[in-house]
Symmetry: C2
Subunit: 295 residues, 2 copies
Amino acid sequence: MTEPVVFTIDVLPAGEGSADLAATVRRAEPGVPTLRVTDLGAARGDGIFETLGVVGGHPQSVEAHLARLANSASLLDLPAPNLDQWRAAIRIAAGALPSDVQCGLKLVLTRGVEGSGTPTAWIVASIAASDFTERRTGIRVVTLDRGYPSDVAARAPWLLAGAKTLSYAVNMAAQREAVRRGADDAIFISSDGFVMEAPTATVIARTGDAFITPRTDIGILPGTAQLALFEFYRGQGFQATEQLVTAADLMGADGVWLVSSVRLAAPVVQIDGTPVAADLDMTDRMNAALLARDA
Amino acid sequence: MTEPVVFTIDVLPAGEGSADLAATVRRAEPGVPTLRVTDLGAARGDGIFETLGVVGGHPQSVEAHLARLANSASLLDLPAPNLDQWRAAIRIAAGALPSDVQCGLKLVLTRGVEGSGTPTAWIVASIAASDFTERRTGIRVVTLDRGYPSDVAARAPWLLAGAKTLSYAVNMAAQREAVRRGADDAIFISSDGFVMEAPTATVIARTGDAFITPRTDIGILPGTAQLALFEFYRGQGFQATEQLVTAADLMGADGVWLVSSVRLAAPVVQIDGTPVAADLDMTDRMNAALLARDA
């Protein structure tokens, strides 16, 4: 396969069983459209998603992704996802992927066709389009104002901070702005000066034996790869803490990474044009741990 | 017709002519999906849209909508829309609508299927689902923090304030929050206290013979119906000004409206639970002017 494979899912309500969950998941014909333009996912970006890495045919951090999907659904007042159905669909979609290359699964749940009251769901299974040389060579980032204060999630939940929605136009625009500035990616900073997250990744920094990542209560996503890495760090005897992080903390760190489900840990080598320390040995260990995830 | 009719458009680059523009616009089979889930419009809310009113078979404020579409495209670094092609498509789609009821056209332009480099475009033509009794009975609104300061557009253009993007999950969540609070709609307030816009409408207020609407440089859309109304006001000898507006200005006004392309002018009768003056006579005149637009 080279083209992504699409699986459509007949959404079952949460808690509703089925004798044959696999029958609710159908592989779409290659290249044939499956989505109506009146679906609120397409018309309003009104839906949620998760992207899982698949390594050796094995989908990674499935339960962490499903927990986050359920949390996003709750923040958007979407019906709770049927997690047994998603587990079955993930298994089926991962089975369509080769086991000798790194792959990804994108799970999507939308509010459905306007007026239907029925959510729409699908999975896109694809081979990673990159060879991820940046895991060795590092990435240059710029910091960009996210416009929101760090108390946005508590103060204004309708802004959906902390939900992984299909409304990612701003995330994509931030990545274009980074490229425009000669960098590879961006890190969002809250309007009151705290490091939030990258448009499609979580920020981790190391100082000595301590690893830190921004607290999720400032309106950011809990990172699934970050969660796995925090387990790894603690298992190796390091400290690992969620806290408030400033750009100055990153500039002075012994290592900074953007971590995500498919690219995994990419070491940051430059922030806003200034070189920062890169910890390539630790990067290798982190990526080995992420690639070896068995759950 | 009762179901929306979808027209797919083979996007021509701006300035590229065609002997037969009509041949680039195709009516889709009813109920048959036309969109691939790997389209960035569906996957990332990475696209733009416009909604036009259609009255008596006549699409309204076409040039104002196309100007805004082109501005949104520029803010999102999308290829400039081919306006001649859009004019032809609008004409064709409007021709599918009945002339004895109020209707709407939704124009959508996305970044296209990931990796294709070719934008995707369509129009949904539909009969308005409402009889718009709220034009007479009024609407209750709540004010909601938009999280952004009023200088967001100048300070952080990557946040796409002022672009009409498909990433409307926050707009939809704000309307749900309004309903949760016992209201019908919301008005966004900037983090520094200025009235911005409603999730799908522009705010206008009247004090004496003066009408005001928020300045668009605070990161909001120019309202196409608001533009038409400002012409109407001036033609009637009223003042009409874009300026900074506060919630207190609305509470003390002689009339407040949310105006949009299909619902048109809806008089606000309550803000955050407090009754406000409604100007039903002026509302009627405004809606008559909007319904009579011939361009």
